[in-house]
């Protein structure tokens, strides 16, 4: 499958790869350079492959609250939250962002690779419990999605908006029109969210307007030095923040409590799928914990490599890369809870050699805040 920007990516010199059946740009000029560009200036990502699902109806709120772990009733109109879908065993079907448009209208953004599975699950569970009081619809083919991320993202998007955006809180969203080629503009769902650790927006746009919005943002951001960014840098940016990626840190073998996602599990919010199992896990304690580690010896940790302490295997690497910000090799992985403390020295088995690493506080990278104290 191709997003509306396939030709634009090829023209911009992107190397295209298959990602969950989509032809997506992995890089344009180089992953590290693109990564640093987002940290220092502003970058534009095409993530139109992501899936979108709407849940509408008088019991939409109850349905979303039942399907996911975070506190949906606490959301106001125009607010979004990060959450996970669990199965009855408390294992992770997917992670997602939930947007509340109104009490009877929710918009979910899910991983491209999981969309068919999520949709079948959500439809089945919703129909059984809520009947026609909550209607589930796959709207993925109607929406493109662009992410504009970096310290200069706000100043670029503000040029296209007639409302002030600086006051928008993280995880809030607006449904507005951005200035485009016609007087009506480009209708978007503009959300102050992202997957990079930088300020910025994720912008849902009608599929057929995706290319127009891309061009409009590239043009508006010219003086800020906006550049297109591939999925390669999207991955290294999220690893530096220790953000989970489905298929790496989380999947149908992991529960959110061991994956450092306890903050989005609200056991006192009413019943939800997976809750009983999570209560048991909380009582017994988790069997492993997700940690971040910095390599002390040379070598780059990669998914699937084993983690050791004193020649005993204590866990496994879920993600690893050379951090373009730190210029050091970093990793994320699961370890035995008793060995998960910051400062613990561990070893990574890299092609049969034990290489030293140290567990560190996440994230690996913190953005500089604007309030200068000097």
């Amino acid at each position: 499958m191709k997003t509306p920007l396939y030709e634009a990516h090829k023209k911009a010199g992107a190397r295209m790869v298959d990602f969950a059946g989509w032809e997506m740009p992995v890089q344009y000029i180089g992953i590290s350079q693109e990564h640093r560009h987002v940290r220092q200036k502003v970058g534009l990502f095409d993530v139109s492959h992501m899936g979108e699902i709407e849940i509408r109806g008088p019991q939409a709120l109850e349905a979303v609250n039942y399907l996911t772990t975070n506190n949906v009733p606490s959301l106001k109109d125009g607010e979004a939250q990060y959450s996970v879908l669990l199965n009855e065993q408390g294992k992770t079907i997917d992670d997602l962002i939930i947007y509340r448009r109104a009490h009877d209208n929710f918009f979910l953004c899910v991983n491209a690779s999981n969309k068919p599975k999520d949709l079948a699950w959500i439809q089945d569970k919703t129909e059984k419990k809520f009947g026609n009081q909550a209607i589930v619809e796959d709207v993925s083919s109607r929406y493109g999605l662009l992410a504009i991320q970096g310290p200069l993202a706000l100043s670029v998007v503000e040029k296209l908006s007639s409302v002030q955006l600086s006051a928008m809180k993280p995880f809030s969203f607006l449904e507005i029109s951005l200035k485009g080629d016609s007087p009506k503009g480009i209708p978007v769902l503009l959300s102050r969210t992202g997957y990079t650790g930088e300020d910025g927006f994720e912008i849902f746009v009608p599929w057929e307007k995706t290319a127009l919005l891309w061009e409009t943002l590239m043009e508006a951001g010219r003086s800020e030095g906006i550049a297109p960014i591939g999925l390669g840098a999207r991955d290294t940016l999220r690893v530096e923040m220790k953000y989970s990626l489905y298929g790496h840190e989380i999947d149908e073998t992991t529960n959110p409590l061991e994956a450092s996602l306890g903050w989005i599990v609200k056991l006192d919010k009413g019943n939800f799928i997976g809750k009983d199992e999570l209560i048991k896990i909380r009582e017994k304690g988790v069997l492993r914990k997700l940690v971040s580690f910095l390599m002390k010896d040379s070598g780059i940790p990669r998914q699937g490599y084993s983690l050791f302490k004193d020649s005993t295997q204590i866990g496994v690497v879920t993600s690893g890369t050379l951090s373009p910000s730190l210029e050091k090799a970093i990793g994320i992985g699961y370890v035995t809870p008793s060995l998960s403390k910051v400062g613990t020295e561990i070893e990574v088995d890299i092609r049969g050699q034990k290489k030293k690493a140290e567990i560190v506080i996440a994230p690996f990278y913190r953005r500089r805040e604007n309030h200068d104290i000097s």
Binding site: R15, V26, Q27, G30, I31, S32, Q33, G232, D235, T236, S298, G299, I300, R302, T321, L322, P324, A329, R351
Partner: protein
């Protein structure tokens, strides 16, 4: 992309330069371009022996790990240590400063199985189609 005429090429995208019984070995311009930014290189030690098609080193980009295969059999007489601190040399000058090892050739007959520049160019054209 360039493919110097004085080199021989393997299907695994290594090049070989023969001087007497010594072969200098590296990865091709095509290989470095496919890998993207190279950020880590693991070199063999002097004296290690490899048979043709053995893995003698590892090259890592930001995203991926790739083995480097011995295009011929031999014993390592020198590894290009500067690559350890400057893996980007492989991207910048893959046929020059980016050489990986020098080997003492143990079976000169194996050289005949390698491709010429022309053959290699045709081979990658076919492979990328």
């Amino acid at each position: 992309m360039t493919f110097p005429d004085d080199l021989k090429y393997s299907k695994e995208h290594e090049w070989v330069k023969v001087e007497g019984n010594v072969a200098t070995i590296g990865i091709t311009d095509y290989a470095q371009e496919q890998l993207g930014e190279i950020v880590f290189v693991e070199l063999p030690s002097e004296g290690e022996e490899f048979a043709k098609e053995d893995v003698f080193g590892v090259v890592e980009s930001v995203k991926s790990v790739s083995d480097v295969y011995a295009p011929i059999s031999g014993r390592v007489i020198e590894a290009n240590d500067p690559l350890t601190d400057g893996p980007e040399i492989l991207n910048e000058d893959s046929y020059g400063e980016g050489w990986i090892i020098r080997m003492e050739i143990s079976d000169a007959k194996e050289l005949k199985e390698l491709m010429s520049a022309k053959e290699y160019e045709a081979y990658i054209k076919e492979e990328s189609e």
